[in-house]
Every structure is written in C-alpha cells, then in structure tokens.
C-alpha cells in the first residue's frame, strides 16, 4: 500500500513581494525627492520671472506670486536685443553641432574600425587632451583666433568647438558595440570604408548621433567664457553673455529671470523631443569600455 504523504500547501510569498514593493517605493521616493531638488532652481526662476521686482527676494520660496506680472516678458524683449542674442546663439550652436557630429562620426569610426599605426596612442592622446580645462588653452586660442582675424565674428566663436574630443570618444565607444560582421560582409563585397560608414554604420548609429547632437548643441548654447573673450560687438553677442550683461549694481531680476526662462526654452523643447534617442545613445555608448 502506497504511503500518502501530505504535502503542505505552498506558502504565499507575501514577504518577498512586499519587500520588493517597499524597495521600489523607496527608490521612487528617493528619485522624486532628487528630481524636486533639481527642479527647485527652475521653479524659482519661472516664479521670479512673473513677479514684480519688489517680490523677487521675499523671504521664503513663494513659488506662486502674490501678483503675476507677465509684463516682464514683454519688457525684457523690448529693452534688450533678446531676439538677436537668440539668433546668434542658434547660429553658432548649429555650426558647432554640425561640425562636431561630422568630425566625431568620421574620427570615431576610424578609431573603432580602422587599423593604423599609432591608433591607440593617438586615441589616448585625445583622451588626455579632454582633461585640459579651457582656462589653460584660453590665451593661446585667443592669440590664434586673433591672428586669423576672427575676433568679433561668428567663425571666431565657433572655431574652437568645431572638433570636440568628447564627441570622438562617444562615437568610438558606440561603434565598438556594433558587430563588425555587417561591415565585413560589405567589405568582402567590395565596399570602400566610406561607403561602409555611410550606408551601414551611420543608419544604425542614429541614437548616438542624436545624443551627440543634443550634447554639442547644448554645450554651444551654454558656452560663456570663450564668447565673452572673443566678442566685443554687441550685435554678435550670444544669449549667455547677454544675460551676464544684464547684471550690475541695479540688476532687474524679474527681467533677467524672464530672459533666462526664454533662453532655456529651446533646449528644453529639443530635449523633450529627442530624449528617447538621447538616453539610448548614451546608454549604448557606455556598455563596452
């Protein structure tokens, strides 16, 4: 006669599930708190931009103004050449972005795929160059730009950012993740390296290209020190230098915050539209070191 053994019913794994949910809740609380901390300056900026001058520095956060003054936006647009500053910045940032993406894709592909003498040494030299802060190269770059006759020109502002080592690094890291079998097949079929890059590698590198474009455009938009030293003419002033010129002994804080809010809008819009590609590009570039 077979012995029947009572099998106890499986205990529900309530404890593990609850712990998991608690853990996730904790992570979300932490992330939300962190997001609020990062958002606080933006909240203050927007709030101050619609306050009367006397209310800007009232004690306490006061995110909702006692009196909303939309007129600040009209006033700053009228009193300062904000449109000109934005146009100048857009032009310079666009030039820098296009050039950075072009050179970074080409150089990144070369470092990732081509074999040539001194390739790795050259790449590490590039990495080392990335560590040098702009303050060190400021004066030599100024001298070069001056001797080229490019002071007070759009070209003078853009020239030192036409090639950015970070972009080369980003593209190289991304391209190292792409299997080389696709390219090998193309090369066997007789494709040149340039055609391999243009028709095979580039289409699948769009996330990285998008990420790099956003980063390069943002860097160009927010650049301050270099445009400050090469620009003397007000009509080619960029937005960040223009905002700095609004500060002084009698800074109109409401107008300044309105101008700052306006200047932040293009980047915010760009990021909102391209954030998926941006995240994907940065993530994939970081997988393989």
């Amino acid at each position: 006669m077979a012995t029947q053994v009572a099998i106890p019913a499986a205990r529900p794994r309530v404890g593990a599930r609850a712990r998991h949910r608690l853990g996730r809740a904790g992570v979300y609380v932490f992330l939300v708190a962190g997001a609020l901390v990062f958002l606080l300056p933006y909240v203050w900026m927007i709030s101050a931009s619609i306050k009367p001058e006397a209310d800007v520095f009232q004690t306490g956060l006061n995110p909702i103004p006692r009196e909303i003054r939309w007129q600040n936006y009209a006033d700053v647009w009228r009193q300062y050449p904000l449109g000109r500053w934005l146009l100048n910045t857009f032009l310079v940032a666009s030039i820098e972005t296009i050039s950075t993406v072009t050179t970074s894709v080409l150089a990144g592909f070369a470092f990732a795929r081509l074999r040539f003498w001194g390739r790795d040494a050259l790449f590490y030299l590039y990495l080392g160059a990335m560590m040098v802060p702009i303050q060190v190269t400021l004066i030599p770059s100024f001298i070069i730009v001056r001797q080229l006759g490019l002071l007070n020109t759009y070209q003078g502002i853009a020239v030192i950012h036409l090639v950015q080592f970070f972009g080369v690094f980003l593209m190289r890291q991304f391209l190292l993740n792409i299997p080389s079998e696709l390219e090998d097949a193309a090369r066997i079929d007789g494709c040149s390296w340039f055609r391999v890059l243009w028709q095979i590698v580039l289409p699948i590198s769009m996330p990285a290209v998008a990420a790099l474009s956003i980063l390069a455009f943002t860097a160009g938009w927010n650049d301050f020190l270099w445009p400050l030293v090469v620009i003397n003419k007000p009509d080619i002033m960029t937005i960040i230098v223009g905002l700095a010129s609004m500060r002084g002994e009698a800074t109109p804080w409401g107008l300044l915050m309105a101008a700052t809010t306006i200047s932040a809008l293009p980047l915010t819009v760009i990021y909102l539209f391209f954030q998926r590609w941006f995240t994907e590009g940065i993530t994939m570039s970081g997988i393989k070191g």
């Binding site: 004690t59 100024f142 001298i143 001056r146 400050l228 010129s245 002084g248 804080w253």
Partner: protein
C-alpha cells in the same frame, strides 16, 4: 597601357611629407609678435596726430548703459580729435576678459575698473600706464587719499579715480515714527543703533530694525565688516601686511555687536547679501541699513520717506569704508593717447566728473569737485546724498592687499556662523583668523 595607380601607402607617404614640410615652414616663419614694438607705436603716432584718433573703452556696468552713453555723447560733443568706441563688459567678468585680451595682444585703450583689488591686479602686473607721463602734476591734486594711495606705485599714479562711494546709514523715517522714535534724531552710536533696532522690531509684525550683510562672501567681510571693526578700533591686517589681526579684542567686540543685534531681535536670523538688503528695505519692512550711495535713487523712489546720516560711531569713532572706481589707461593699448584723453576728460574736469557721478549715483573722487555748481544742485535735489559727502571726509580703504577677497570670505563665514548661532564670536574669529593667515602667507609668497 594600364594607368599606374598610386597605392594608398604611397599616397599617405606623400601626404605626410607635405604636412611635415608645411609644419616646418610655418615654424621657421617669423615668430609671433610678443606685443606692439616700441617702433610700432612711434610709426602709429604721427598718423593719429593728424586726424581723429579712435580709441576703445571697456565699460563694466552694462546695466547703466544709458547713463554712460550720455557721458560718451558729452565727450564727443566737446571735441573732434578723439572718438571712443565703447565695449560693454559684465562687471564680474572684466578680470578674465581683460587679462585674456592683454595676453592676446588686443587690449582696450582704457577701461573702467571698480575697487582697489581689481585695480591692483593690473597695476601690479605692469599693464597700467603711468598717468604722470601725460600730466606730471597729477599726483598733487586733491584726490581722496585712500583712492590715490591704492593706484600709486613708486610715486606715480597708474589709474584715474573717477568716482567714489562710502557707506552711510539710510533709515526709514516712517518706521521710526511708528516705533515712537524721533526721525530727526537717528542713532549716532552703535549702542544706540542696537536700541533703536530692537524698538523698531518690537513695533510690528514682520518688521526689523536694522539690516547688515551676513552672507558668507567677500563683500560681507571686506566691504561691510570694517564699518563695525574700525568703530571698535580694530584692523584687518597689520601695518606691515604680514599678519591677520582682526581676531583682536576689538575684532571680538565687533563680532559681538552682530550677535547682540540678533539676540535683541534687531535683525532676523538669515543670510543677507547686498541685493537682499536693498530689496527688503524697499518693501518698507526694515528700519535702517548702512549702504553705499549707488542705491540712493532707488531708495528715494520708494513709497516711504527715508533719510541718511553718517554711520554710527563706536568707542573709537566712525570711519566709513571707501570704495572707488577708476579709468585705467592700458600700457599696451594701440591708442592709449585716446584712452588718456577720455580719462582726463572725466577725471580732471569738475563738471564732467559731476555728470559722470550724478549719472551713476556715485560721489566725486576729488574733494574740490564737490563744489562744482552742477554737483551742488544735485545734492540740493537729493537730500540723501549730503550725508555720503560728509562721510567721505572720514573714510578709509578696507584691506586690499594679497588675498583680500578670500580673507573677506573667511570673515563673512565667521559672521554667518555667529548670526546662526553655530559658533561663539571667539571661536568664529579664531577659525577665520587661522584660515586667513594661511591665505595671506600663500598670497604674499606668490606676490614675491
């Protein structure tokens, strides 16, 4: 016949050889000029002397562009020999931009600089032309002593003081009345100020008696703390410039005064910088503040009545901190003659100096210029101004030697710590003195 194809290796070798040749030829070319040669100046001078000279002037207060444009128009209307092209530069960025331009061989001909520290930076590095080369008598004029001392090296003046500012006490007459105080009898001593501040604070909700700077920055320590420190007979640095001495019994008494102001609820426990102090005062919720004259126009426009008086005295009297601005002619400017003409127009002609200072809410840097009719009329129309002019007579420069800004920041941190009750005045002062001495030693070593 098959066309000979150039192999990639050959192509690269040719390219490499060409690039090397180009590099060698570039390096063998004439060296980059270190700066305008003496000969170049002499060649340029005759051409400039014949026609209009065009000079470049950097102005460091873009927010006051309208007032400055009026001055430039006045200069151009007065003569046709010199034309100044103006570049507006954010004030806080002038050191970086000017240093780069000088090093890069593209300096302006003249620049407006504010304060002894920034002036010293460029004078000590040999970038400022000696004004005595144009006017050998310039050192004999009736400059404010502190301003002249700050720009003089080896008996020569290297910048033209064109405006000055001192602190005076501005007070809200309406709040004084509401607190039962006589607005015509403001406090004359620091002890009286404490009493008055306490009474005003007690007279209503969200009303405070007196504001002073408590933010942990160099402005608090360098521009505002000296008012109290000197009133108690203290000093920031020893006469030989080697030792920090604000941690003396006098310095302790000064810092104790801040603590007393907080403990008697004359001021709220919070970080206050210059902007916040003015903003809060303009709301009508602050009884008084010791402040520089640039704010006079905004205070006069408030919807309550204000008056001004010399800063209250301590046991050792009343000495107000002095600030000043200069026009500096750059030694390497391509048209420094034009820079000198503009500096002379503003700094050596009373009516022009008056126009300059009226436009910017500052005070003349020469004592006799206050007698100019246009300035007298301005004083009569602006009742807050005379107290500042009076205070100039007993004003002095805060410490501006090596490490001045960093030392000021350490003092500012000490004040904040005392205000927030984090440290006792003794402990805060000792900590600040220790840090400041390290800074002073380091900066003195750098300066050689």
């Amino acid at each position: 016949m098959a066309r000979r194809r150039i192999a990639r290796r050959d192509f690269l070798q040719i390219l490499g050889g060409g690039a090397t040749a180009a590099l060698v030829s570039a390096c063998a070319a004439s060296p980059a000029p270190a700066g305008p040669a003496a000969g170049a100046d002499k060649v340029a001078a005759p051409a400039a002397a014949k026609g209009t000279m065009t000079g470049t002037f950097w102005f460091n207060q873009p927010t006051q562009q309208e007032a400055f444009q009026a001055i430039i128009d006045r200069f151009h209307a007065s003569q046709t020999r010199v034309k100044m092209e103006v570049v507006l530069v954010p004030g806080t960025e002038i050191p970086a931009k000017l240093a780069t331009a000088i090093a890069g061989g593209e300096p302006p001909d003249a620049v407006r600089l504010g304060g002894p520290a920034v002036n010293s930076l460029f004078i000590n590095n040999g970038h400022a032309a000696a004004l005595d080369d144009w006017d050998p008598q310039i050192g004999t004029y009736d400059w404010l002593p502190g301003a002249q001392k700050a720009v003089t090296r080896n008996g020569k003046m290297h910048a033209m003081p064109v405006n000055s500012g001192v602190q005076a006490l501005i007070y809200n007459k309406d709040l004084y009345g509401k607190a039962g105080l006589d607005p015509a009898k403001p406090p004359t001593t620091l002890d009286e100020l404490l009493d008055v501040a306490a009474k005003i604070s007690a007279s209503g909700d969200q009303v405070w008696g007196h504001y002073t700077l408590t933010a942990p920055n160099s402005q608090t320590g360098s521009d505002y703390f000296p008012t109290i420190l000197w009133a108690f007979g203290g000093k920031e640095v020893s006469d030989d410039g080697k030792t920090v001495v604000f941690n003396s019994p006098e310095g302790l008494a000064a810092l104790q005064w801040y603590k007393d102001l907080i403990e008697r609820k004359g001021m709220p426990v919070k970080q206050v910088n210059e902007t916040q102090m003015l903003q809060d005062y303009l709301t009508g919720a602050v009884g008084s503040m010791a402040v520089f004259p640039a704010v006079v126009a905004r205070v006069a426009g408030a919807n309550f009545s204000s008056a001004s008086v010399k800063v209250p005295a301590g046991p050792k009297g009343s000495v107000a901190p002095l600030g000043f601005g200069t026009i500096m002619v750059l030694d390497k400017g391509k048209n420094k003659e034009a820079g000198w003409e503009f500096a002379r127009f503003i700094g050596l002609e009373a009516s022009n100096a008056a126009a300059w200072n009226m436009g910017f809410g500052q005070l003349p840097a020469r004592l006799s210029f206050r007698e100019d009719p246009s300035w007298k009329e301005y004083e009569a129309k602006n009742p807050l101004v005379p107290a500042y002019v009076e205070s100039q007579k007993s004003a002095d420069l805060p410490y501006f030697g090596p490490g001045a800004q960093e030392i000021g920041t350490e003092v500012g941190k000490a004040i904040e710590a005392v205000v927030f009750g984090q440290k006792s005045p003794q402990q805060a002062l000792e900590d600040a003195a220790r840090a400041s001495q390290t800074i002073l030693d380091r900066e003195r070593q750098k300066a050689g």
